[in-house]
Amino acid sequence: MSIKISPYQDLPSKSFWKTVRENHYFDLESLSQPISLSLSDKIATAGSCFAQHIGRYMKNSGAEYLDMEPRPDFLSDQDAKRFGYEVYSCRYGNIYTVRQLLQLMEESQGSREPHDVVWEKEGRFFDALRPSVDPVGLSSASQVVEMRKRHLKAVDNMFRSLDVFVFTLGLTEAWVSNEDGTVYPTAAGTIAGRHTPKKYHFKNYRYNEVMDDLRKFWGLLKAINPKARMLLTVSPVPLNATASDDHVLVATTRSKSVLRAVAGDLAEDENDVFYFPSYEIISSHPSRGMFYEPDLRNVNDGGVQLVMKHFFSAFNEESKSSPSDGDIICEEAELEKFAK
């Protein structure tokens, strides 16, 4: 019988940095823990911009992908996307922060009613909680409210019927209503509305706050759908702008670190919650930044393909290539116009 002289001696090759150093980056294996997921599960996606890639690949891989707000027949592929269809499982646009996700769950269950949901711009009216789903807005505030009610029904149906909820955590920074604490996906004045310090304040969520929100969301989801499982990822897309005092590079690391820690800890604590390392695959230094577009922010299709290869291998399903898509919808990108 051999005597164990070190706790490291029987560990698999993936436990040692040597495997990263000596293998081609594309040949790395076992990056993810096994995920309890199959293509027959009803899968719904939400989150920040990067989550759109996951949804696109899931659909094209024959997964039971939930589309609770199917597009009208008269829309072309391009127009459907511009109007927020087939981007996620419902037409909620990007959900950057966990607080936004929690709000959406509460609102869909009738336990929350935000005061300020309509923003105006040049005579057109936008849903402030999902401004990216309509590039031109509607002709009246009441139309926006009607559409939101319909949307919330679809969201409720989605939460109740899904088997797996794939959520990509994107940001810790948000703009919050002074009136009722509602968090918006983008600052007023970016797409529509008008920013005033009287109405909104900046908030950069800390670890405990993000964790509390995510736990609360998870509890609400399990309460209405006990079979639900959740797969968490962290978006590797850096912040386009920060409203904190930090440099945007430092603010990005802070934000992603908090989100990564929360996702990992919740996955460790809960049996039905999993973490998938898309963040590490794209942004770790052994990839030498090769998966980023020239703007050093958006992820190129090569990176997305590699992420999805690992994603599908984590549950033994083969990744099918998906048409490249340069039209990722991202309100946060709108902040670029304010850059000096």
Binding site: P72, F74, R82, D134, P135, R150, E293
Partner: protein, 319 residues
């Protein structure tokens, strides 16, 4: 089907009307899988011969033999004979992912490949021979190009220096194919480590080395290969082009751009680099205008569309 000589293969496959998926040609007791990707329109006339070599493969998702260059078929059909040769070395073990067409102990793939190419040239009498490969497939293209009369090598993101590749791949290859050679023996002692090392100063071959500006192997591969060629041949007939692509980063390359250079080499009046370059400019000028991005701008139609969506959604909710 396995052919025992190139002549029979040329007559039965390349010059016949039918296309097979692939056949094997036995050269010096080594079976080379060969696939025809495109055929010249007029088989009686001399035309360029293009030969492709493939790079590393994923054994879990790809079955051997593998054939590079299928993306050229439509654009070269009728203009050239285009064939793709798979690496027989990979058949030695299911664990092998890349073997640079470098063979093994008592299995001289580079020597037999040289004979195969020579026999193809003898039979077809091409106007020029263009050897193509990407990544590790560039190694045989660069290596064999030195022995080809009126030859052009068009390679992209070359991994043409074996010892400068990843240790795990090299060890996998060495231990499987060269088990009797001490692991401390340098590769160059028993195989062509640097693909262009045998290229002579007087070699008339034209080398076109394409590299993605963001290829992580640029410094250890494309640049030393180019430097060696230029120092040996005093800047004659060698060009190194590093290009930036927004859609391709890392060790990937635009097949459209690669195809542009291959077509330029096919259509150029000579194999001189200046003629091929001019032809490339002409071809890509056309390609660029055809690929101008279409931008959708918000307009009045969008207001109508937003209203139609509203009416549609409300009607649906009342069903």
């Amino acid at each position: 089907m396995i052919y025992s000589n190139v002549r029979d293969w040329v007559n039965n496959v390349l010059l016949s009307g039918d296309k097979t998926e692939y056949d094997c040609i036995n050269i010096e007791n080594i079976d080379f899988p060969v696939s025809v990707l495109a055929k010249n329109k007029d088989i009686s006339k001399s035309c360029p011969l293009v030969i492709f070599f493939h790079g590393s493969i994923n054994r879990e998702t790809q079955e051997i033999p593998v054939f590079e260059g299928k993306f050229t078929s439509k654009k070269t059909e009728g203009k050239a004979n285009v064939v793709s040769v798979a690496d027989p070395t990979l058949a030695m073990s299911p664990i092998l992912r890349t073997t640079w067409y470098a063979g093994a102990q008592d299995y001289d793939v580079p020597g037999a490949l040289r004979t195969l190419i020579k026999n193809l040239i003898d039979e077809l009498k091409p106007s020029r021979t263009i050897l193509c490969g990407g990544s590790t497939g560039a190694h045989p293209a660069l290596y064999q190009a030195s022995f080809v009369p009126n030859g052009v090598a068009v390679v992209c993101n070359p991994i043409g220096c074996i010892s400068q590749y990843y240790a795990a791949h090299i060890n996998e290859y060495r231990s499987t194919c060269w088990p009797e050679i001490d692991e401390k023996t340098p590769l160059k002692e028993f195989l062509a480590d640097m693909s262009v090392s045998s290229c002579e100063e007087s070699s008339p071959t034209t080398f076109i080395i394409l590299s993605n500006a963001r290829d992580s192997h640029l410094v250890k591969q494309s640049i030393p290969i180019t430097r060696l060629l230029i120092s040996k041949r005093k800047f004659k007939s060698t060009i190194f082009i590093t290009k930036f692509f927004s859609k391709f980063s890392g060790h990937s390359y635009s097949s459209l751009d690669w195809l542009g250079w291959i077509n330029a080499a096919i259509n150029s009046p000579t194999t001189e680099i200046s003629d091929i370059g001019s032809q490339y400019e002409y071809i890509t000028g056309i390609l660029e205008s055809n690929n101008f991005p279409k931008v959708k701008i918000t307009n009045d139609e969008d207001f109508l569309m937003a209203q139609s969506i509203y009416e549609y959604e409300i009607a649906r909710s009342q069903e």
